[in-house]
């Protein structure tokens, strides 16, 4: 990915030894401009995982397995007062489309499925496989 023009510096102001700090201010954990979080590194993805919140059981398997920390979660408190990570979506700026999250998803009908990159999310959700009705004899 090309570096934004405003980030390019001259040889005399270059980062010493190409050593890049993660934080501008370690105390407040303010991310530096070199932090990889600021880079969009997903432009070679051909298939993307789509998340279906209706089927998700918040087991967090995908969050554990994702090699690029692209499973977005938020902290929620359950009815019993226990803190839990609730899955809310996917970070498409960093996801490379490896499909590990889909592979480890344990729900009977997967709550994560791979779709071609250009497929809109709504369309993908509409195509989601339905639970087969048990035949009544």
């Amino acid at each position: 990915m090309a570096t934004p023009k405003e980030m390019l510096t001259t040889w005399d102001k270059i980062q010493f030894g190409a050593v890049l700090p993660s934080f501008e201010d370690p105390k407040t954990k303010k991310r530096s401009k070199f932090h990889s979080y600021n880079y969009k590194v997903a432009d070679w993805r051909v298939e993307k995982p789509v998340f279906n919140p209706d089927l998700c059981i918040n087991c967090d398997f995908c969050w554990v397995w994702c090699p690029d920390s692209c499973i977005l979660v938020e902290e929620v408190t359950t009815k019993r007062g226990k803190k839990q990570a609730k899955m809310v979506g996917i970070d498409y700026d960093h996801c490379k489309g490896c499909g590990v999250c889909v592979d480890v998803c344990p729900t009977p009908i997967k709550s994560l499925l791979m779709f071609p990159e250009h497929t809109p999310i709504e369309e993908a959700l509409a195509q989601w496989p339905k639970k087969e009705d048990k035949k009544k004899d």
């Binding site: 570096t3 510096t9 270059i14 190409a18």
Partner: protein
């Protein structure tokens, strides 16, 4: 706390033992090495000192020299004082990582014992490995005897770790001729030596987990050039620091080192330019030749990288003919010292009759008689006012005379 080593005022050490003691006195945090002849005893002695409680540090045995330098890079980036030693094939295997170390500006010190490169396999001294690492972005210091191997290894830490430099440094000594030849060495006591080098000051250490950093970033066409230019400036600008460290060392010990060493150059009309232990042989040859009335001197770049080209040109200002002696086969051109000297003269609008000699490959002896022959041929050029001897000759080579024009 490391034990103090009781040293006599005068020790009889070979170059390897001298370098090992310098590493011990520097209290290196991590030495990662894969011993190779003729530098094996540096690593072996160091490991012995560590086992005997004279060093507070880690010695990492690795599976190859590539891993040795990689471990050094990791340890240095983590924030420790780091050193290693190698020679020849090991040096060749390290080359990829040498560039990484200098690019990341890691002040690693490597005590190199110069040895020929295969094939054919040879364990003896020449400068093939030194020349291989020439463009790797390391500062290269040349030592001609065990005393210098000791002194310059101490200086190497101080130069490398200076915040104005922060570049890796090698000290180079000729395989066997220096590394295995016991000579008198006057060492400093442990405290004085350590005080001279000073405590290690980490810069952007990876072990500072409060402030995480990335080492070894990828930079493509929009960044790489700026980084390399910045790194080049750092090594070009390291001369004042090197001179400063040499001066501090002189103040402490009385032993003087210069970026270019000269012998009887004040009134010299012809000059030899040579690096390594042959410099000392050349001093004897110069004295002999001067008895016959030949006004000859000898010059040695103590610092091979950065190359002191303007200073060299200044020294050669009044010289009519110069012989540059390279202890490495340039394989298809003139030797590196010839090229550097020619460039230095041209850049300063000077000229002299310049010839190149290849000598001492694979540990072949180069004696006073051989150098007197070179001086005689150079004198012929000076007297003729033009080059009458071949552009490139070979010293002490068996068979019909081999030369190139």
């Amino acid at each position: 706390m490391a034990e103090k080593y009781q040293l006599k005022k005068t020790e009889v050490w070979d170059g390897n033992m001298a370098a090992a003691h310098a590493l011990r006195q520097a209290q290196v945090d991590v030495v990662a090495a894969y011993p190779i002849t003729p530098s094996t005893p540096i690593v072996q002695n160091y490991a012995q000192f560590l086992a005997d409680g004279y060093i507070d540090g880690e010695f990492v045995m690795v599976e190859s020299e590539h891993s040795a330098m990689s471990a050094c890079v990791g340890a240095s980036a983590a924030g420790g004082r780091v050193a290693t030693a190698t020679s020849s094939q090991g040096y060749a295997l390290m080359v990829e990582v040498l560039y990484q170390a200098s690019g990341m500006r890691l002040p690693i010190v490597m005590t190199v014992v110069n040895r020929a490169l295969a094939s054919p396999l040879n364990i003896h001294g020449d400068h093939s490995d030194l020349y291989l690492g020439r463009d790797a972005g390391w500062i290269h210091l040349i030592c001609n005897n065990p005393q210098e191997a000791y002194d310059l290894t101490l200086c190497a830490f101080k130069i490398a770790e200076d915040e104005r430099v922060r570049l890796p440094v090698t000290t180079n000594q000729d395989g066997f001729l220096v590394s295995h030849t016991a000579q008198v060495v006057h060492p400093l006591d442990d405290d004085t030596a350590y005080k001279f080098i000073g405590d290690y000051k980490p810069l952007n250490p990876m072990l500072d987990t409060e402030n995480p950093v990335t080492y070894g970033a990828q930079t493509e066409e929009e960044w790489h050039f700026e980084h390399k230019a910045n790194q080049h400036k750092a090594i070009m600008d390291s001369f004042p620091v090197i001179e400063e460290v040499f001066q501090q060392f002189k103040d402490l010990t009385g032993r003087e080192y210069k970026t270019i060493e000269t012998y009887k150059m004040d009134d010299a009309e012809i000059a030899l330019i040579v690096m390594g232990s042959t410099y000392e042989t050349a001093m004897v040859a110069v004295d002999e030749a001067r008895k016959k009335g030949i006004k000859v001197g000898v010059v040695m770049p103590r610092v091979f990288r950065p190359f002191p080209y303007n200073q060299l040109a200044e020294i050669l200002k009044n010289v009519k003919a110069i012989a540059t002696l390279d202890r490495s086969a340039p394989m298809g051109t003139t030797g590196a010292l010839y090229n550097e000297t020619a460039g230095a003269l041209m850049a300063n609008g000077q000229s002299a009759i310049l010839t190149n000699y290849i000598y001492g490959l694979g540990g072949r002896d180069t004696t006073v008689e051989h150098l007197l022959q070179v001086i005689e041929e150079t004198q012929q050029n000076a007297e003729a006012g033009k080059r009458v001897t071949p552009l490139q000759g070979f010293i002490n080579l068996r068979g019909p005379k081999l030369s190139f024009n």
